[in-house]
């Protein structure tokens, strides 16, 4: 069982030299999600177990988080002291075809990856405070944070698939 995300102890302060590894992980999430749900019935992907998020809702959430991250990247590199809180506008993803949700995630993720590549060495060292965690985050830290968050939801998706397909 995955440790709840909000209970994770997260350490930041990563050097810029670690960014290529984090971007590689962020890029890899697209194909990992695609592989995980390939050939799975839409009904299974929309199923909510014990009132929790369905697989589609987990993927939709990752797409929304990338929109927040995009905004936070702009804030960090503009010298904003405190990052905007993560405010989401969830859609009824269970009514969407899985391919459409994946497309949204892919679009947002590729957009962010492109943005990271435009940042200068100086911008990669700029930081702002994360409102909930009360720590300073640089763009490099944010990339790691998002990669860990991706893995958390991939585990959740795997748990749903395991339960549904192997029960």
């Amino acid at each position: 069982m995955a440790l709840p995300w909000f209970e994770r102890n997260l350490k930041f302060g990563y050097s810029s030299e670690m960014l290529p590894f984090f971007l590689e992980r962020l890029r890899g999430t697209i194909i990992r999600l695609e592989e995980k749900i390939r050939g799975i019935d839409e009904k299974i992907l929309s199923r909510k177990l014990e009132g929790k998020w369905s697989i589609k809702e987990n993927i939709g959430h990752l797409a929304e988080v990338d929109e927040v991250s995009n905004k936070r990247l702009t804030e960090m590199t503009s010298g904003v002291a405190v990052l905007s809180p993560a405010v989401f506008e969830p859609q009824d993803y269970n009514q969407w075809p899985a391919a459409k949700i994946l497309d949204l995630f892919k679009k947002n993720r590729l957009h962010n990856l492109k943005k990271y590549k435009t940042l200068s060495d100086e911008q990669l060292k700029m930081s702002s405070q994360h409102q909930r965690l009360k720590v300073q985050l640089t763009p490099v830290d944010l990339a790691w944070f998002d990669a860990e968050h991706d893995d958390h939801h991939l585990v959740k998706i795997n748990e749903i698939l395991d339960y549904t397909l192997n029960k």
Partner: protein, 173 residues
């Protein structure tokens, strides 16, 4: 962005976390075959076998991941058998240098890697929470490595080679 990736042997690892994040680590390990396959699906043979400045080719990087899987699993058994030290790795990577991975098709290399990684993940999914926290000393780093730390190290090692492969593709494109 002009950032260079850190060399593997220059990487510093900190294994102090007490929380059980093993499911996320296993998930990362499970994802590597798909990431490699997607990256290499349309790469031409001359790029797959090119050795930039005498470093490993893309095929050799993939072959190296295959070569090391038995070490990773051997170290798991060392910890579970309560050995004081993890078995020593061949730091000169003789196995990879002598394997001539460039002569093997990329399809075969990827299939072998997927198969052995699947076996690894299947084994890890059977471990108990108690076993995840068992440890032995890493022979080079001289630090205690728990099963959880060891496989985080493996996931980071996968990423290191994925980044190296990306760099080769970008350089030759």
């Amino acid at each position: 962005m002009s950032i260079q990736q850190t060399k593997w042997f220059d990487r510093k690892f900190e294994f102090s976390g007490e929380q059980n994040v093993f499911p996320s680590i296993v998930e990362r390990l499970r994802g590597t075959p798909a990431r490699l396959e997607e990256k290499l699906r349309r790469v031409p043979e001359n790029v797959l076998t090119a050795k930039l400045e005498s470093t490993w080719s893309i095929k050799e990087n993939v072959g190296h991941l295959i070569d090391l899987e038995s070490l990773w699993m051997g170290r798991l058994e060392d910890i579970l058998n309560k050995e004081p030290f993890l078995r020593v790795a061949d730091l000169s990577n003789t196995k990879t240098h002598e394997a001539n991975h460039n002569a093997t098709s990329i399809e075969d290399l990827l299939e072998i890697f997927r198969s052995i990684r699947q076996t690894t993940v299947g084994r890890l999914e059977l471990l108990s929470e108690k076993e995840i926290y068992l440890s032995a000393l890493h022979p080079r780093l001289k630090t205690p490595m728990r099963v959880m730390d060891h496989f985080l190290f493996v996931a980071e090692h996968d990423d290191h080679h994925l980044v190296t492969i990306t760099k080769i593709i970008q350089t030759l494109s």
